[in-house]
């Protein structure tokens, strides 16, 4: 629930300031954040978002899902408040038409249907956990979905993006207790969600990871892409630590689950799919 001040700030477009109030309030309510021996916040752990943003990052009502005759309510899209500050993505006219076209057959066109890596920021709000392994000069973020991961270089600005990658190139520094990561060099093929929201090769994502307690991180990302959007825009949502003693990342090598979707057309007619029972 936003305070009156936050609503005014949001209406004025001052999303970052409004989010700062959110973070400050939450931090005041939480316990001590864990720290590394050098005094930096320790973000290490297994985290997961609790949103329906992977369906649609904009506010959305519940809706029928794909293949309703086959899957019934199981494929239905749950409602969600969205994670975009201000509610709407500021597409330029052409990019909005592309989004609308993507949406027509989103389930087939979503790169995740093929088990392609989700890119940033989408990987951070997938319905799968991810693990941060933090050391002083590099941070590894390993995502359960598609075994995707990324290496975040801390205070090494000389390591620039040299080739485009599905998970991009991440450079980071600390601003107080906030871990600021600039992600560049991403492939243009990833989407933000299952609703066709997209970007171009020119996208730069500035992430801000701010711990707001022992088991919570406030995540924000500002997306800049002049090819696609008329202005930078920001998403934000909290991340929750998995606290179960036996929690661990498991394998989800989904390439094997996408083979029939990708290659089934070229299977020899009449031959079986998969391995025989062992």
């Amino acid at each position: 629930m936003k305070t009156l001040i936050q609503k005014h700030l949001t209406n004025l477009g001052l999303f970052a300031l409004a989010s700062f109030f959110t973070i400050t309030q939450a931090a005041a309510q939480s316990g001590e954040i864990p720290r590394t021996p050098s005094g930096k916040p320790d973000l290490s752990g297994i985290w997961q978002a609790m949103t329906s943003a992977h369906y649609d990052i904009e506010p959305h009502a519940a809706a029928e899902g794909p293949h309703p005759g086959l899957m019934g309510a199981l494929s239905a899209k749950p409602a969600g408040l969205g994670i975009v500050e201000g509610g709407r993505i500021p597409y330029n006219e052409q990019a909005r038409r592309v989004r609308d076209q993507n949406k027509v057959n989103a389930i087939d066109n979503d790169p995740l249907t093929k088990c392609y890596m989700p890119g940033i920021p989408r990987a951070n709000y997938m319905p799968f956990p991810f693990q941060i392994v933090q050391s002083e000069s590099v941070v590894l973020i390993a995502y359960e979905f598609a075994e995707s991961n990324r290496i975040v270089y801390v205070d090494q600005p000389e390591l620039e993006s040299q080739v485009d990658a599905w998970m991009g190139h991440s450079n980071a520094h600390w601003e107080g207790d906030t871990f600021v990561v600039r992600v560049s060099g991403q492939m243009p093929d990833t989407w933000f969600d299952r609703s066709g929201n997209h970007h171009s090769w020119e996208m730069v994502v500035e992430e801000r990871w701010t711990p707001i307690g022992a088991d919570h991180i406030q995540y924000e990302a500002t997306i800049t892409d002049p090819n696609t959007f008329t202005a930078p825009w920001t998403i934000s949502f909290p991340l929750y630590r998995h606290v179960a003693e036996n929690m661990q990342l498991l394998e989800f090598k989904c390439a094997e689950f996408a083979e029939e979707y990708l290659y089934g057309e070229w299977r020899k007619p009449g031959t079986p799919r998969g391995n025989p029972p062992q």
């Binding site: 590394t36 021996p37 050098s38 320790d42 290490s44 093929k114 088990c115 392609y116 890596m117 693990q131 392994v133 933090q134 050391s135 002083e136 590099v138 590894l140 390993a142 598609a146 075994e147 995707s148 991961n149 990324r150 290496i151 270089y153 390591l159 040299q162 080739v163 485009d164 990658a165 599905w166 998970m167 093929d189 003693e245 036996n246 661990q248 990342l249 498991l250 394998e251 090598k253 390439a255 094997e256 996408a258 083979e259 990708l262 290659y263 070229w266 299977r267 020899k268 031959t271 079986p272 799919r273 998969g274 391995n275 025989p276 062992q278």
Partner: protein, 343 residues
């Protein structure tokens, strides 16, 4: 192909990492948590055979004369390859020495180790450096870059295939499920022999470049993973013994081979040891224990050399046009054969 970009590593190490000549006074650096610091990018390329040639018996290291002879052979082979390439530059129309264009040219291949070059084999146990006999009835399946070798699913090897009816008939690397050198255990192969190690307070991560496989090693006492959950890379738990990181991996899914074209890894227990011997050298030792497959354990040592550079994303599946083309090509050939037969 975008997905198959080679690593752009700048190799800083030189051929000086001889295990027997390392500095005994070397003090292993520590992480901020006091653990031996193994972090960084390491290259495990090698020209040493995994299995020891029988003529060496139980001799683990080459003599000075044998090293000299081996270096001379390698230099002669490299010079011959350079000369062949130069001939093509002078006369691009010159016929190839062979009709087989091969799968990769020299650009791709990392066959020369940049670290320890003095071993007779990577396998150090059994003492003869040879793979022990397989148990009677153990699975045997052979792949390779040549023609398909008919067989039955599941295909557990990494390269090659039993047929082209569907993707399941191809090797696991062709399907982008398992890297052809990423294991575990990871072993020297044609290219991209790179691994990056990460450490924090209670976790280590072994990230192989091939197929971006980040194997998370939980350190300390955590509840065991149920036997019901089986995974391609298994479940890894670790601890430190002095300056060594020890990793034990179980819960493999039985869909890969144990080692050397043999077994199904279902009951394999893999123990890996990472020991930093010098600023630029980590010894990677692994022991395979699979009594259902082999009559004895297998232990190998693969020295790794530090490289100054970054791993690039090996997005195999996202660029796997090869699988489309293998299957589509086969269907086209079948259609053409049918049409030819009908005439």
């Amino acid at each position: 192909m975008k997905a198959l970009l080679p690593i752009g590593l700048v190799l800083t190490a030189t051929l000086c990492g001889i295990a027997t000549a390392q500095d005994a006074t070397y003090e292993v650096p520590r992480t901020e948590y006091g653990h031996p610091d193994l972090q960084g990018v390491w290259n495990f390329s090698s020209s040493i055979p995994m299995q020891r040639p029988e003529r060496f018996g139980e001799q683990e290291f080459l003599s000075a004369e044998q090293i000299e002879a081996a270096v001379a052979r390698q230099e002669a082979a490299a010079a011959a390859a350079d000369a062949a390439a130069a001939r093509l530059v002078i006369d691009p129309e010159a016929p190839e020495a062979t009709d087989n264009p091969g799968g990769y040219n020299d650009f791709w291949i990392e066959s020369a180790g940049i670290g320890d070059t003095v071993r007779t084999s990577h396998i150090v146990y059994p003492p003869n450096g040879r793979i022990p006999p397989a148990r009677e009835g153990a699975q045997r399946q052979f792949g390779g870059l040549g023609p398909d070798i008919p067989g039955t699913r599941p295909v557990r090897y990494v390269v090659g295939g039993i047929a082209k009816d569907g993707p399941e008939d191809r090797g696991l690397s062709e399907r982008c499920i398992v890297g052809f050198n990423s294991g575990p255990p990871f072993t020297p192969s044609l290219y991209n022999n790179n691994v990056q190690i990460f450490q924090n307070k209670d976790t280590a991560v072994i990230l192989t470049e091939m197929i971006h496989d980040a194997r998370i090693v939980q350190l300390g006492d955590k509840p065991e993973l149920t036997d019901d959950i089986r995974m391609w890379s298994g479940d890894s738990r670790g601890w430190y013994e002095g300056d060594t990181l020890v990793v034990e991996t179980k819960n493999f899914n039985g869909l890969r081979q144990t080692f050397s074209s043999t077994g199904d890894n279902m009951d394999m227990v893999l123990t890996e040891k990472f020991t930093r011997r010098a600023f630029d050298t980590v010894d990677y030792e692994f022991t395979i224990d699979d009594p259902a497959t082999f009559t004895d354990k297998i232990t190998a040592i693969v020295p790794m050399t530090k490289v100054a550079g970054q791993l690039y994303e090996y997005a195999c599946h996202e660029g796997n046009y090869g699988m489309f083309n293998i299957l589509r090509g086969q269907r086209v050939q079948e259609r053409m054969a049918n049409e030819g037969g009908a005439q």
